[in-house]
C-alpha cells in the first residue's frame, strides 16, 4: 500500500454519475473508486470491474467443509473409537449427511464473509481513508488517482465539467492500516508518495 494523490468529486445524482464514470474511462484517467449511498445496478460494469471470484472461493470453502466433516466422522467412528450404535454400520452415511451438510454451509458462509471483508478491506481494528464524510450517506463520491500522466488541474476541470461539485485534491493512504476511527493515528501522510 502506498500514499497517493487523488482528485475527489461529489455527485448528487446517479443519473449524472453514470455518464461521468463512462467519460472518465474513455478519457483514460485511473478510477480509484466510486462510493455510493446504496448499491447501484450496473455501476460495476460501467466502472469496468471484473466479475468477483467470491463464488469460486465459496465453492472451495464448501467442499473443504464437506471433506472435513466426512473424513473426521469416519476417522472417529472407524479408527479412533468404534462403537456399536443401535446396530448401525460403522460408516453410516445417511447419519453423516446432516452434519456434512451443516459443516459445508458453515465453512462456505464463514469463509465467504471473511473473504468478502478482506476484499472490501473491512475488518474490526483496521482503518481506511475517508475521502468525504458524506460518501456513503447521501453523496456519490468519485475518486480519481493521479498518475504521472494526469495533471491535477486538468482532472479537476474535467470533473467539474462532468457535473461534479466540491472537487478537491487529496493526498492519502490508498489501502488499509491498523487503527481506530475514534483515535488519531501517527502521521502516516508524512511519508513520501509511492514510497
Amino acid at each position: 500500500m502506498a500514499v497517493k494523490n487523488f482528485v475527489v468529486g461529489l455527485f448528487d445524482d446517479e443519473a449524472v454519475l453514470f455518464p461521468a464514470v463512462k467519460k472518465v474511462r474513455t478519457a483514460g484517467y485511473k478510477l480509484h473508486d466510486v462510493y455510493t449511498p446504496f448499491p447501484v445496478h450496473g455501476l460495476d460494469h460501467a466502472m469496468g470491474l471484473r466479475e468477483t471470484s467470491l463464488h469460486t472461493a465459496g465453492f472451495i470453502y464448501g467442499i473443504t467443509g464437506t471433506t472435513t466433516a466426512l473424513s473426521f466422522m469416519s476417522w472417529v467412528f472407524n479408527v479412533d473409537w468404534p462403537l456399536n450404535i443401535g446396530g448401525k454400520p460403522h460408516f453410516p452415511l445417511p447419519a453423516f449427511i446432516p452434519i456434512t451438510f451443516e459443516l459445508t454451509v458453515l465453512f462456505a458462509a464463514v469463509g465467504m464473509v471473511m473473504t468478502f471483508c478482506y476484499l472490501c478491506q473491512l475488518m474490526p481494528g483496521v482503518k481506511k481513508h475517508i475521502f468525504h464524510p458524506r460518501q456513503t450517506d447521501d453523496k456519490f463520491v468519485m475518486v480519481i488517482e493521479l498518475t504521472e500522466k494526469a495533471n491535477a488541474e486538468e482532472v479537476k476541470r474535467f470533473l467539474n465539467e462532468a457535473g461534479a461539485h466540491d472537487v478537491n485534491e487529496q493526498r492519502a493512504e490508498a489501502g488499509w492500516w491498523y487503527g481506530r476511527f475514534d483515535k488519531a493515528d501517527e502521521d502516516i501522510y508524512a511519508r513520501p508518495a509511492n514510497a
Partner: protein, 401 residues
C-alpha cells in the same frame, strides 16, 4: 415484434410422430401384456399419465405462486406457463379414465386395496379402509381434478380478458387484486391435493401397507422441478424462433436458479424420507426401500440421485450455464427425464416387481410428450405472447438479476 405464435410445420409433425409412437406402444403393450402381465400395461399408463399431468399442473402453480408473491419478472413470458396449463384438462381426463379402470375394473395388482376380500382379512387395510376405499378415492379424484381444471381455466381466461382492458392505475389495481384472490384460492386447493392427499391416493396406495407423510411433498417437489424445466424448454424454444422479444438472459437466469434450487429441495425431501425410515429401521417402513436399495432396482435408485441431484447441482452452479439458452435447455431435458425415472421407480417395484428395460414406459412417455407439445403449441396460438396490460410488464422488461 412477433407477438402471435404460429405453429411451425416441423413442430406439428414432431408432435404427431411422438403421439403416433405413443399410440403404437399402447397397442403393442395391449397385445404383449396379457393376463398376469397386464399389470405392467396399467402401471406404465398410471406412471406416465400422473407424471405428465402433475408437471403441466406445475405451470398453474407457477402462475399462482409468482402472482401471490407479487413477482414482476415472469410477466414477459407468463403466457408460456398459461399455455402449458391448458394441457391440464386433457391429461386429467386421461388419468381419470385410467384410475377409474384400475379401481372399478378390479386391477388388484396395482391397488390391492380394491379387493374386498384382501381388506377384510388384512388388519392394516381394514384400518385404512376409511381412507382407502373406492368411494373416497373417486370423490377425491373428481373433486381435485374438477377444481384444478376450474382454477386453471379461470386464470387463463382472466389473463386473456385483461388484454382488452386499459392501462389506468385503478384498472391495474383491480387486475392485481382479482388475480391475487383467484391464485390464493388455487394454492389452497393445490396444497391440500398435490401437497397432501392426491399422491397418497394415486401412487402411494400401490404399496397399500406402507406409508410416508413425506410422500406427497416428495412427489410435489419432483413434479414442480420438472414443471419449471418444461416452462424453461418452451421459453427457450420460443426465444430461438424469434418470439418473446422482452425475454432475455435475465429471465432465463431466474428460471435456472429455480431449477437449481428445487433440485436441491427435491433432494432434501428425498433424503428426509429415506433417512427417517433408515434410522428407525422398522420392517413395515423399510419394505418400501428393500427392493429399491437392496433389490433389482438398486442401479435405478442411485441413478435417480445422480441425475436429479448431482447433475443439476454441479451443472447449474455456475452463473454462465444459467444464462445460456442451450445449456438451460439441456439441463431441462435431463431434469424431466430424471424425474420421469423417479416416477418409474416409484410405481415399478410395487406393481410388476422386476426391473426390465422400460421400452413400453418410454414409448408411452413419448406419446405424452407429443400430446403436450400439440396441446401447448395450440394454446400458444390462441393469445398474444405478451400480456400487454399487466401492470408489472415494465418491471419484467427492465428485469435485472
Amino acid at each position: 415484434m412477433k407477438d402471435q405464435f404460429v405453429v411451425p410445420a416441423r413442430l406439428k409433425k414432431t408432435s404427431f410422430v411422438l403421439m403416433g409412437v405413443g399410440l403404437l406402444t399402447l397397442l403393442i403393450g395391449l397385445i404383449a401384456f396379457q393376463g398376469e402381465n397386464a399389470t405392467r400395461f396399467w402401471a406404465g399408463l398410471l406412471q406416465n399419465s400422473s407424471f405428465f399431468l402433475l408437471i403441466t399442473l406445475a405451470s398453474t402453480f407457477f402462475i399462482a405462486a409468482t402472482t401471490l408473491a407479487h413477482g414482476g419478472w415472469q410477466i414477459a413470458f407468463r403466457r408460456v406457463p398459461e399455455a402449458i396449463s391448458m394441457a391440464v384438462p386433457a391429461l386429467c381426463a386421461i388419468l381419470f379414465i385410467i384410475v377409474m379402470i384400475l379401481v372399478f375394473g378390479g386391477k388388484e395388482h396395482i391397488y390391492h386395496w380394491v379387493n374386498a376380500h384382501h381388506v377384510a382379512e388384512d388388519k392394516i387395510l381394514t384400518w385404512k379402509s376409511a381412507f382407502l376405499n373406492k368411494g373416497f378415492f373417486t370423490t377425491a379424484t373428481i373433486l381435485t381434478m374438477g377444481l384444478w381444471i376450474f382454477f386453471t381455466l379461470k386464470l387463463r381466461n382472466m389473463s386473456i380478458e385483461e388484454d382488452g382492458w386499459d392501462l389506468k392505475p385503478e384498472t391495474g389495481r383491480k387486475l392485481i387484486w382479482r388475480n391475487t384472490v383467484w391464485c390464493g384460492g388455487f394454492l389452497v386447493v393445490y396444497t391440500l391435493s398435490v401437497g397432501s392427499t392426491t399422491p397418497w391416493l394415486w401412487l402411494m396406495s400401490i404399496d397399500a401397507h406402507w406409508f410416508s407423510t413425506m410422500y406427497s411433498w416428495y412427489t410435489f417437489a419432483s413434479s414442480w422441478v420438472s414443471g419449471l424445466s418444461l416452462i424453461a424448454l418452451f421459453v427457450v424454444y420460443l426465444k430461438k424462433h424469434g418470439y418473446l422479444t422482452y425475454v432475455n438472459e435475465e429471465h432465463l437466469h431466474d428460471l435456472g436458479k429455480f431449477i437449481f434450487a428445487f433440485s436441491i429441495f427435491w433432494t432434501y425431501l428425498w433424503f428426509s424420507q429415506y433417512m427417517l425410515i433408515w434410522y428407525a429401521n422398522m420392517p413395515e417402513e423399510t419394505e418400501y426401500f428393500q427392493p429399491r436399495v437392496w433389490g433389482e432396482w438398486r442401479p435405478i435408485f442411485f441413478l435417480n440421485l445422480l441425475i436429479n441431484f448431482i447433475t443439476p447441482l454441479l451443472f447449474l452452479m455456475k452463473r454462465d450455464t444459467k444464462r445460456n439458452y442451450t445449456s438451460v435447455a439441456f439441463i431441462a431435458v435431463v431434469v424431466i427425464a430424471g424425474h420421469w425415472l423417479d416416477f418409474w421407480q416409484m410405481v415399478g417395484p410395487g406393481t410388476y416387481k422386476h426391473l426390465v428395460f422400460p421400452w413400453y414406459e418410454l414409448g408411452l412417455g413419448a406419446g405424452f410428450v407429443g400430446l403436450i407439445i400439440f396441446l401447448v403449441a395450440n394454446a400458444l396460438t390462441k393469445a398474444p405472447l405478451v400480456p400487454k396490460n399487466h401492470p408489472y410488464l415494465k418491471e419484467s422488461i427492465v428485469h435485472h438479476t
